[in-house]
């Protein structure tokens, strides 16, 4: 129970030349088809095993929602097949097709009936659904007066009232406030522990990395990559900047992590190092130690503007800190071809114990999306150990001044 197998799946929409073309095609079949097929999904193959959590990412229009709808059974595939075992609950877009004139309670009944539940069972579940949604007296108001967040709360509560074998969630959760997001992710985690298979579309990197075992990247209707969430996410970031003469390259490193390097190559990193106060390279630093991040790069072509940025990520890939020279109000202008530049960023390693990775990027303006010269993930790894500071947990060092009165 709870497996999804997608074989060679394709979805095409028919596009007709004119208003009358469809009628002509239907009534005069011997004249042949008069439509063109626009493929929005092609050659999709993957399997999700019982209890696995898989995230699907991709830019808008990559086909994520279409794929989920086909798996959930609302739209039909043009080619290939989807084999599913077990009961599916799907939260597609917003509202689960709520009827705006009926009250929340009536809609809950209808939605539950649409999930195949019968009257008494719904009556039994009702108090719990109400309690989970936490929308108070609104439950007896017509849905048209609900905010989109409230609709989502109710929809999520109904869809997950009974643990499904497979749960499909399409970005729906992003509408909710952070309180409800936490609450719903907790429920999703519980389901996972009990063996529910999860298929999730999200642009939220944190959500994908913290819940999913695996991620799929869709690009232009095709499966561009499949693998560990962090590596897929990095690749996705690189793809976001996909323009013209552009390369994206991924390498497995010794420690099993995948490094992504992407960009046009108009500027290249030469050396990236973390130094102590004496200028010696560091691999291990103590909590709170003053360190310097030294980055050297060379402009391979004449460049009107270069912004250098870096991010420090923890072992889960969450960003602990990131900035760039545009944020710091010091971008460089008018670089000549062949010019080498060195930047030094000095700071106290106010980090908790553990390993950290630094990603660096060279681009124009203040994000890497517009024009990406080079982006390197996992450019540098270092470890923080606690030497001489009192014990603490977490990834940030915020030493308090303690006072106690009694």
């Amino acid at each position: 129970m709870g497996t999804i197998r997608v074989d060679n799946l394709g979805k095409a929409y028919r596009v007709y030349g004119g208003r009358w073309s469809r009628l002509a095609e239907w009534t005069l079949p011997f004249l042949g088809p008069r439509h063109q097929l626009t493929w929005v999904l092609k050659d999709i193959d993957f399997t999700v095993h019982t209890g696995e959590a898989v995230g699907i990412i991709g830019i808008n229009g990559a086909g994520k929602s279409t794929l989920l709808k086909i798996i959930a059974g609302t739209i039909l595939a043009t080619s290939g097949s989807v084999t599913i075992s077990g009961r599916v609950a799907a939260l597609l877009e917003l509202g689960m097709g709520f009827h705006s004139d009926f009250t929340g309670r009536q809609n809950v009944f209808m939605a539950a009936q649409l999930l195949g539940l019968q009257g008494e069972a719904i009556g039994r579940l009702m108090p719990e659904i109400e309690a989970f949604a936490e929308i108070g007296d609104y439950i007896d108001q017509p849905v048209r007066v609900y905010s989109s967040g409230m609709q989502m709360r109710l929809a999520f509560s109904v869809a997950t009232a009974v643990r499904p074998d497979i749960l499909i969630v399409d970005e729906a959760l992003s509408v909710g406030d952070s309180y409800f997001q936490h609450k719903s992710f907790d429920r999703i985690r519980q389901f996972r522990e009990q063996g529910t298979t999860l298929l999730l579309v999200s642009h939220d990197k944190g959500a994908i990395q913290s819940i999913c075992d695996r991620a799929l990247l869709l690009n232009g209707g095709q499966l561009a990559m499949e693998g560990e969430p962090e590596a897929v996410m990095d690749y996705y970031n690189a793809l976001l900047a996909d323009r013209g003469n552009y390369r994206v390259q991924q390498e497995k490193q010794e420690d099993g992590k995948t490094q992504t390097v992407s960009g046009t190559g108009e500027a290249r990193f030469v050396d990236i190092a973390l130094l102590d106060e004496q200028g010696q390279r560091l691999e291990v630093a103590a909590v709170g130690q003053p360190v310097t991040l030294r980055i050297r790069f060379r402009a391979e072509a004449a460049l009107p503007e270069v912004v250098l940025g870096y991010q420090i990520k923890d072992r889960l890939g969450q960003i602990i800190f990131g900035t760039n020279t545009a944020y710091l109000d010091q971008p460089l202008y008018d670089l000549e071809a062949g010019e080498t530049v060195e930047y030094r960023f000095s700071f106290h390693a106010a980090l908790g114990e553990g390993t950290y990775a630094i990603s660096v990027a060279l681009h124009t303006s203040d994000t890497h999306v517009l024009h990406n010269y080079e982006w390197q993930d996992l450019a540098l790894l270092f470890t923080i150990i606690n030497q001489g500071q009192s014990r603490f947990v977490g990834s940030t060092w915020l030493p308090p001044v303690m006072e106690c009165f009694r």
């Binding site: 609302t74 039909l76 799907a90 009536q106 009944f109 649409l114 195949g116 539940l117 009257g119 719904i122």
Partner: protein
């Protein structure tokens, strides 16, 4: 068989939807469901008072006070049932686009809901009409029960047509507009308000090709004249209705996937 199984599994949704639709109609009214009775009652009273008392219309060959009113009601109620199923059916997929796109459930539930909710209305209004017949001493006796197969076949015919129009309407919105006009002509081309007898012979023979004329005539014969429907005509219409239904289901199956893309 799969069809019936799916309908059974989703019986909760079907009965719930019928109930909701019924409630929705009177949700913000003070008298609530009483209106379900008041509306048809008013219609029956208007027809009886106007035609039997004010205009003193008489049916040729039948000389009782209420004959024409009963004739009219028999036709109008039957037509109303047919028009409700077809009218609602042709929009049923468009109306529920939101549901169809977001939730996976057997789509065939939707036309079934249309039949049941139109059937419920018909049951109420026809029940009242029957009560009126009994009270006014015009109840036709056991012949009344021959109407049951007539209603069954009429439903088959209506829903077949409704599904076909419903599917076509998704692709060609003109269908809905066009059929509104067709329905008006069809009403006046069926002997509902006027008796069949006033038509010229040539036109009369054409009535055999109007299925609604056959249905309406069956009700009129039973309720006004107290005689059984013409079963010869009826078998023919039953075959047509069945064929229409099969065609409708096949069209629906074939286009169901494309339909969702179009909604």
């Amino acid at each position: 068989m799969n069809l019936l199984k799916a309908l059974w599994l989703y019986r909760g949704f079907i009965s719930g939807s019928v109930k909701r639709e019924f409630q929705a109609k009177y949700r913000n009214s003070l008298l609530g469901a009483t209106w379900t009775i008041l509306n048809p009652l008013a219609m029956i009273i208007v027809y009886t008072v106007i035609f039997s008392q004010v205009m003193r219309s008489r049916l040729p060959g039948v000389d009782t006070t209420f004959a024409y009113s009963i004739y009219l009601c028999a036709g109008v109620l039957t037509w109303g049932f047919f028009a409700e199923i077809v009218g609602r059916g042709q929009n049923v997929f468009l109306e529920h686009a939101n549901l169809i796109k977001k939730i996976s459930f057997p789509r065939i539930c939707l036309p079934v809901i249309v039949i049941l909710s139109a059937g419920l209305n018909f049951l109420i209004i026809f029940g009242l009409f029957t009560l009126f017949l009994a009270v006014s001493g015009n109840f036709p006796g056991w012949v009344y029960f021959t109407l049951f197969p007539v209603v069954a076949v009429q439903i088959l015919f209506s829903i077949g047509l409704a599904i076909i129009l419903g599917v076509l309407n998704v692709f060609f919105r003109d269908v809905g507009q066009l059929f509104g006009i067709v329905l008006q002509f069809w009403f006046w081309l069926t002997p509902i308000v006027y008796p069949l007898a006033i038509l010229p012979e040539k036109v009369k023979s054409l009535m055999a090709f109007n299925p609604m004329a056959t249905f309406v005539a069956a009700y009129q014969e039973v309720l006004v004249n107290g005689i059984m429907p013409n079963w010869h005509h009826f078998i023919w219409i039953a075959v047509v209705s069945l064929g229409l239904c099969i065609f409708a289901l096949r069209l629906f199956r074939k286009r169901a996937g494309e339909m969702v893309d179009e909604l």
